[in-house]
């Protein structure tokens, strides 16, 4: 009888201790249209950082778009309603992703000159003779006295070996042109992997405010610095000669950050068009129906207090005119080459 009692205790303990996890977990969210709509609105409401900057009344948006939600609507109809609501944020970092569509707002790019034509560069400047480094992440062209480096996307990893190679190859050149035009961004880590090669000292490059709570102003301030690369040899850095960074409106997100930070490096000059913005680092969630949603969750400011969500002004603003384009001229690259050739140390 005593043994039986013991075994009963064990069984009860086992059942209790093996089965109570659901008591701790939040209930699984529903997947009906209204529940999904609410998840979209709530995630943006708690994490998005530019409601005031964009002058968006998010509560009014909820009222307006929730009225279009019906219990029987299909997935595509629901996606359209959510897409229309998110479009009001005018933010390319706000994306709802389903298996059949991705919501985005490209308005930010539409009212500015393109300022970049890869075909003109390939045909008339490089004659099809570019060097593809690191699987094509970097496309290099040797102008004899200047090294041209085109970095296509911050999503492509910047390896130590690539940067060692670029710095070494540029050692005997007058300078580097780093072309970031139409680079839509990617990983923030790559900003530092590149910028650290261009400075010998730690540089204060801006401020970032990250959301730490659901309130609109629940933000934590962080200073942004570029720390110098710890080089074993002098050829692993490029700090004593001019670097010209080329930008246009297609420079978004991580590229926008890079432009802001590069402007603070003494031997770097940013030339071209205003960048596209994307000053809030996005965070992602997955909704109960499997769609993913990302929104901007930080605010960033340059050292003068300018919010870079709207873009970064270059040091020298140059646009490619229609007349130059018709003559197959890349006015921005021409200016950058001239700047390096005539000014050994570009003034910042």
């Amino acid at each position: 009888m005593k043994n039986l009692y013991k075994y009963l205790v064990i069984c009860v303990l086992s059942l209790v201790s093996f089965a109570c996890e659901q008591a701790f977990m939040s209930p699984t969210p529903k997947t009906d249209p209204e529940a999904v709509f609410n998840q979209v609105w709530n995630f943006a409401n708690e994490k998005y950082t530019f409601f005031d900057y964009k002058k968006v009344d998010w509560d009014a948006a909820k009222t307006k778009y929730k009225a279009r939600i019906t219990a029987n609507m299909d997935e595509e109809a629901l996606f359209k309603v959510c897409n229309d609501m998110l479009y009001e944020l005018k933010d390319e970092h706000v994306n709802l992703v389903s298996k059949f569509n991705i919501s985005r707002n490209p308005e930010v790019f539409l009212d500015y000159p393109t300022n970049y034509d890869g075909d003109i560069l390939t045909r008339y400047y490089f004659n099809g003779r570019q060097q593809y480094l690191d699987g094509g992440n970097f496309r290099l062209f040797d102008f004899d006295d200047v090294l041209y480096v085109n970095y296509r996307s911050f999503s492509d990893a910047v390896t130590k070996e690539s940067m060692d190679y670029i710095c070494k190859k540029a050692t005997n050149k007058k300078g580097i042109v780093l072309d970031l035009r139409q680079n839509g961004g990617g990983s923030v880590a790559n900003i530092y992997n590149i910028a650290q090669r261009f400075t010998d000292k730690k540089i204060y490059a801006g401020l970032s405010y990250a959301k730490i709570g659901p309130g609109r102003e629940d933000l934590k301030k962080d200073s942004l610095f570029i720390s110098p690369f710890k080089a074993d040899t002098a050829t692993q850095k490029f700090t004593q000669k001019p670097i010209v960074v080329l930008t246009n409106r297609g420079c978004y997100s991580a590229t926008n950050f890079f432009a802001m930070m590069a402007k603070e490096i003494p031997n770097v000059t940013v030339v071209g068009g205003k960048t596209g913005g994307g000053g809030g680092v996005p965070a992602t969630t997955e909704l109960s129906n499997g769609w993913t949603l990302r929104v901007s969750t930080t605010r960033s400011f340059d050292i003068n207090g300018n919010n870079i969500e709207g873009g970064v002004e270059p040091d020298i603003r140059i646009d490619i005119s229609a007349a130059d384009k018709s003559k197959n001229k890349d006015t921005i690259l021409d200016y950058a080459l001239k700047l390096i050739r005539t000014k050994p140390m570009a003034a910042n």
Binding site: F18, T28, G213, L287
Partner: protein, 273 residues
């Protein structure tokens, strides 16, 4: 006078030598006793090393990322060392499991790896029941590249708390079976999660000391031991069900929950001594 003095010195030296030899013999006896005691203790102790592999069913929910509960099946491997003395159990336990978490609706899958190391010392209250404490280090990592800046979510915690163990040999049809039940409830933890409310910057992670109002973890285990065949007198087989649940309050009404149910159905137990 000089002769008397030298006689006294010689006498003193002789006395000292005797005392020393007596002292040495006492020390020698003490050492012999210590060695004998140690040998007896070693003779009484048993050491088992066991390896178990099996499947785990995991459910993870991090409401900082999503309210969804992500289920998945993992492969699990476990190595355990148990030293049993007449008074105590000493457990060393290593578990690693890896697999994929996903909702049927998810666009991309999440790859997950969990590792756990725990060490416990339990004092035997009676032949079937022991109680003591456990220190455990746990790391859970989840990777979903589709989530970009928050592609990698993880938590690493070192915790400490009481543990109990019940074990009983049962004879059925003239064969010895065994049942074991263990329960550990850490009361304090120290660690960090990444990322936290804002899923972009490491600086805003939840980190530090986790007290019981914020951190709850339960590890419970039921093990059945089956008799060894005559051909393998030093080996037998165990089948176990292990449940490891962790709940961490992340603030802002967010929480992290990780539940792993592991069924270890193949194993080997090697009795070292």
């Amino acid at each position: 006078m000089k002769q008397k003095l030298s006689m006294i010195v010689v006498l003193l030296i002789l006395m000292a030598i005797k005392a020393q030899s007596q002292g040495l013999s006492v020390l020698k006896k003490m050492n012999e006793k210590r060695v004998e005691k140690r040998d007896n203790r070693w003779a009484e102790e048993k050491i088992f090393k066991q390896t178990l592999i099996g499947f785990a069913y995991q459910t993870t929910q991090n409401t900082n990322f999503s309210a969804n509960q992500y289920p998945g099946v993992l492969l699990s491997a476990r190595g355990t060392s148990i030293r049993e003395t007449p008074k105590r159990f000493y457990h060393f336990d290593n578990v690693i499991s890896a697999g994929i978490l996903s909702l049927p609706e998810s666009i991309a899958q999440t790859y997950t790896v969990n590792t756990r190391f725990s060490h416990s010392i339990l004092r035997k209250i009676n032949p079937t029941f022991a109680v003591g404490s456990q220190v455990s280090a746990v790391f859970n990592g989840r990777l979903n590249l589709n989530n970009e800046n928050n592609a990698f979510l993880m938590e690493a915690v070192l915790d400490l708390g009481p543990r109990i163990k019940f074990q009983k040999e049962i004879n059925l049809l003239q064969k010895a079976y065994g049942i074991e039940y263990g329960l550990a409830v850490p009361l304090i933890g120290f660690g960090f999660t990444a990322p936290s409310f804002n899923t972009s910057f490491d600086e805003s992670n939840t980190k530090g000391i986790f007290l019981p109002n914020k951190y709850q973890r339960i590890q419970s285990e039921l093990m059945l031991k089956f008799p060894a065949g005559k051909r393998f007198p030093n080996k037998n087989f165990k089948m176990g069900y292990h449940w490891d649940f962790m709940h961490l309050d992340l603030g802002n009404n967010r929480s992290l929950n990780n539940a792993v149910h592991t069924l270890s159905f193949i194993g080997s137990i090697k009795k070292i001594k």
